[in-house]
Symmetry: C2
Subunit: 242 residues, 2 copies
DNA sequence: GCGAAGCCTTGATTTCAATCAAGCGAAGCA
DNA sequence: TGCTTCGCTTGATTGAAATCAAGGCTTCGC
């Protein structure tokens, strides 16, 4: 798949189409020369749901921007218990600077499009361009804030509060219309019931029961097992506990 | 309390005594001129256990290095349920750049010594000195790794695994002798049973029962309710689940 | 020393979510 | 078409940790 190298109206070349849209990714922090240099080394991938991204020959030794879809980060205990420790939506940055191996598995939860760059190129640009480190610092601090909310959820919320919180989180990240003020949302769940369980520290069965309850109480509607419609976000948010 | 401004053997002035020891804090990333400038604006505080650090007049609008003691970061749900979301040991950096208010409470868990700087000064230096942002990025990424291990613990570990994991974490951070290879450790717990419960997503009673069990099985010894002795770290680590 | 307040432990009981078990429905394949 | 597999739901039972309850240690100030 070819890479667009046309020039933005501001005079800054655009590395990939999607990087143009929102600037939480890598590209928004670089100057024109760097973007041209980076474009020569980048490659776009389309990946099916279920594919391991770490350990994959194409992604080892590289950083990526998520262009579309959802990537799920997981860790496992020695006996096989699994926990989701992060979800990356477009245009998040994927990869851990300053560390060779991370013990974290990354897997495409839905079909995913990635734009990848060699680690060496990014690391050189980080030294040259303070703006890039600044951007990565901001993303890391945001992820840390999210992780802390997650910690509160796992440590102190009931199963029904966890499921409600999960739906609100996904709605905010996936449904383009579900902005802060929007009273409703409609989206496909990017995870199976089992993955949702691994995200919330619950079993598949408990997730299923709580979704059934929310549906029975008219808080959400579910079509085809995957598509969720929330008519009244406020009502759902009241069940999040916070 | 006066601030040491003597000169390190390398020619770099030392801002505070403790910053000299390890360099995960702010000061290690600055050049000589900046350190002298920073020293003029810094102030050292000694704080008793239980004191709120955020909302405190002296720490609002400032960043701090933890010089000694343990600071506990907590978040609360609307009905009062509380969860510890971070523990800061010397020489961690305290404060959230790029964000005015954070919803997070910081409290001295033990007597704490802090070295504080006005936010404005640090933020100016961040613009001038890429090294400072680099250091903050590294700390943020480390904290993110820790947060993800914590998420696994809260989501998937049993009460007894949680308590064992907590003891190992504290031993590594507090007992200066408990390095990777050390087979034993000895330290005072920086938290009450109730705080440990808020850290692990458990109740006081459950924490107490699990500690009693570890003691009964000879894995740990406890003196005066607070002092813990671990003769065989390996044996304790085997109970962490990972 | 004495009393009070916190912190901690222990026991009895309850409860919420896990586990065990079964069946449904859609998708993929022979 | 029929078979298998996978994801999901629902029901019955169990179990781990919460809750409720009481009492014991420390530490403090008086």
């Amino acid at each position: 798949m070819s890479i667009r190298q046309d020039v933005h109206s501001s005079g800054i070349p655009v590395l990939c189409q999607s990087c143009e849209a929102r600037h939480r990714g890598v590209c928004g922090a670089l100057d024109a020369d760097q973007l041209v240099g980076l474009a020569k080394t980048s490659s776009k991938h389309q990946v099916e749901a279920g594919v391991e991204l770490v350990g994959d020959a194409e992604t080892v030794g590289s950083y990526s921007n998520v262009l579309s879809g959802v990537v799920k980060l997981t860790k496992s205990l020695s006996d096989g218990r699994q926990q989701v420790v992060g979800l990356q939506f477009a245009p998040d940055f994927l990869g851990r600077p300053f560390k060779a191996e991370s013990e974290i598995n990354a897997e495409a939860a839905t079909p995913v499009a990635l734009c990848s760059f060699p680690k060496t190129v990014i690391e050189r640009m980080m030294k040259e361009s303070p703006g890039l480190e600044h951007r990565l610092l901001k993303q890391a601090l945001n992820e840390l804030d999210e992780a802390r909310d997650w910690i509160v959820m796992l440590g102190r919320k009931s199963a029904s509060e966890k499921v409600a919180s999960f739906l609100v989180l996904i709605a905010r990240n996936i449904d383009p219309a579900a902005n802060a003020s929007a009273p409703s949302a409609s989206f496909d769940l990017p995870l199976t019931r089992s993955d949702i369980g691994d995200f919330l520290g619950l079993t598949t069965e408990t997730v299923s029961r709580q979704l059934t309850r929310l549906r029975a109480e008219g808080v959400i509607r579910i079509e085809n097992n995957r598509h969720v419609i929330i008519d009244d976000m406020k009502r759902l948010e009241q069940r999040c506990g916070d």
